[in-house]
Symmetry: C2
Subunit: 193 residues, 2 copies
DNA sequence: TGCCGTATAGTCGGATCCGGCTAATAGGAC
DNA sequence: GTCCTATTAGCCGGATCCGACTATACGGCA
C-alpha cells in the first residue's frame, strides 16, 4: 500500500544497479563495495533487505527468480520494472536539482565550539585537519586505481572537493582562534574529560 | 538502562541549551529557532521529546519541576547534571576531532549523474546552482542581522563555506559537461519523466 | 460577542533503520 | 580427515525517528 515515499539513498543505489543487470541483494552489496561506492551509500545488510522490500512494495523492482545452491539460504534475484526505471531517473534528477537540507554532525559540533575554549577548540580542529588529510589521501588514491571513465567515479571527485573545502575552513579557523582574530567571549576554557 | 549511545545531534543542542539555563522542551525548540539554529539541527517536536527522554535515561539531564498554566498541558522543566555537562564537552570535542562518515543525498545522486545524459545533467546542475546561490544569500543575510559575537554564529560561517564550495563544483562540472571535458560514455541520454 | 488564525505544549502510531545473529559452504593448514 | 576461518546469504528484535494529530489559550477584528 505504497507507504511513505522512499527517501533512503541506498534504494537509489539498488535501483541503479538493477538497471544494469538482475541481481540478488547480497550480490548488490558486494558489487557496490567492489566499485568503491561505500563512501556514497551506507551499505548495511539489514537496511538493504528492508530497502528491497520497500522497492518491491512500490513496484519499482520485481522478483525475477528464486534459486538455491545446495542447502544455502535461498537467493531471490530482482530485476528492474519500467516504473522503477522512470522513477530512478526522476529521482536522480530531483536530487541534483533541489539541494536537500542536511544536518552533518560537524555542523552541530561547530555550533558549540565555544564549549571547548580557545585552546581546546584549536587543538581539536588541528586533529580533525589531520584526519581530513588522511581521508583525502585515501580517496585520491582510489581515483586512478581503476581504469574507468571519469563519469563513473565523478562522485569521488565531488567528495574530494568537499573534503578539501572542509579542510581549508578547519585550518583557517584554527589559525584565527590562535591569532585572536576570532574573539572568544567566554573567558575561561572548559577542558574535555 | 542506558540504551545505545545517543547519536542524534538534536540531543547535543538540548544539552547545550540546558547548560545555559533550565527550560522545558517547547521552550528549547523555540529558543533554537529564535537563534537560527534550524540550519544546524533538525528541530522536530516528535524527536525532541524522545531525545529528552533518552537524555534523562542517561542521567545527562534531570527534571527540575513540573508546572501548569491554567488548563494547558503540563510543562516539565529540565536542567543539566554534572554528568551531562562533562559529556556535552566530551561529545563536542569528539565530533570536532574525528570526522564522521556522512552520506549526503547529493553525493548519492552524483554517483548516478550518468543516468541524466549530458544535456539533462548539465541542466539539473545549473538549476541546483541557482538554488544554492539563493540559499547562500539567505544564509549570509542572517549573519550580520544579530549583533552577536562571531563565535556564537560560527557554524553559519562554516555552512556558508561549504555551500560556496558546493556551488563552485556544481558550476565547474556543468561547464565541463557542456564543453566536453567530461566525456560521456553512454551515448544516448535518458530524459526525466 | 462570536469567530478565526496563531502560539503554546506535548502525544502517538507507525515507518525506518541497523547491529548482531544464524547457518551453510569453501579453502587452507597441519 | 578435521579444525578453523572467511565468505556467502539473509533474518529479526528492538532502537530511533518523525509526521500528523490533539487541545487549550489568546489577540484582533467585524
Amino acid at each position: 500500500m505504497a507507504k511513505r515515499k522512499i527517501s533512503n539513498t541506498l534504494a537509489l543505489a539498488v535501483l541503479g544497479l538493477l538497471q544494469e543487470r538482475e541481481m540478488h541483494p547480497y550480490e548488490i552489496a558486494a558489487t557496490l563495495r567492489e566499485r568503491h561506492k561505500g563512501g556514497s551509500f551506507k551499505i548495511n545488510s539489514g537496511s538493504l533487505y528492508d530497502t528491497v522490500e520497500a522497492l518491491l512494495g512500490h513496484g519499482w523492482i520485481e522478483a525475477v527468480e528464486v534459486t538455491r545452491d545446495g542447502r544455502r539460504p535461498e537467493r531471490t534475484v530482482y530485476g528492474p520494472t519500467a516504473l522503477g526505471q522512470a522513477e530512478f531517473v526522476r529521482w536522480v534528477d530531483e536530487l541534483v536539482r533541489v539541494p536537500a537540507a542536511e544536518y552533518p554532525k560537524f555542523l552541530a559540533a561547530v555550533a558549540y565550539l565555544g564549549a571547548l575554549g580557545p585552546r581546546g577548540a584549536a587543538d581539536a580542529l588541528d586533529e580533525r585537519a589531520g584526519h581530513l588529510e588522511a581521508r583525502i589521501a585515501e580517496t585520491a588514491d582510489i581515483l586512478p586505481s581503476i581504469g574507468l571513465p571519469r563519469l563513473f567515479m565523478i562522485e569521488v571527485e565531488f567528495a574530494l572537493h568537499a573534503l578539501r573545502a572542509e579542510l581549508e575552513w578547519t585550518r583557517a579557523t584554527a589559525a584565527e582562534i590562535r591569532d585572536g582574530t576570532l574573539a572568544w567571549p567566554g573567558t575561561e576554557a572548559a577542558t574535555p574529560a
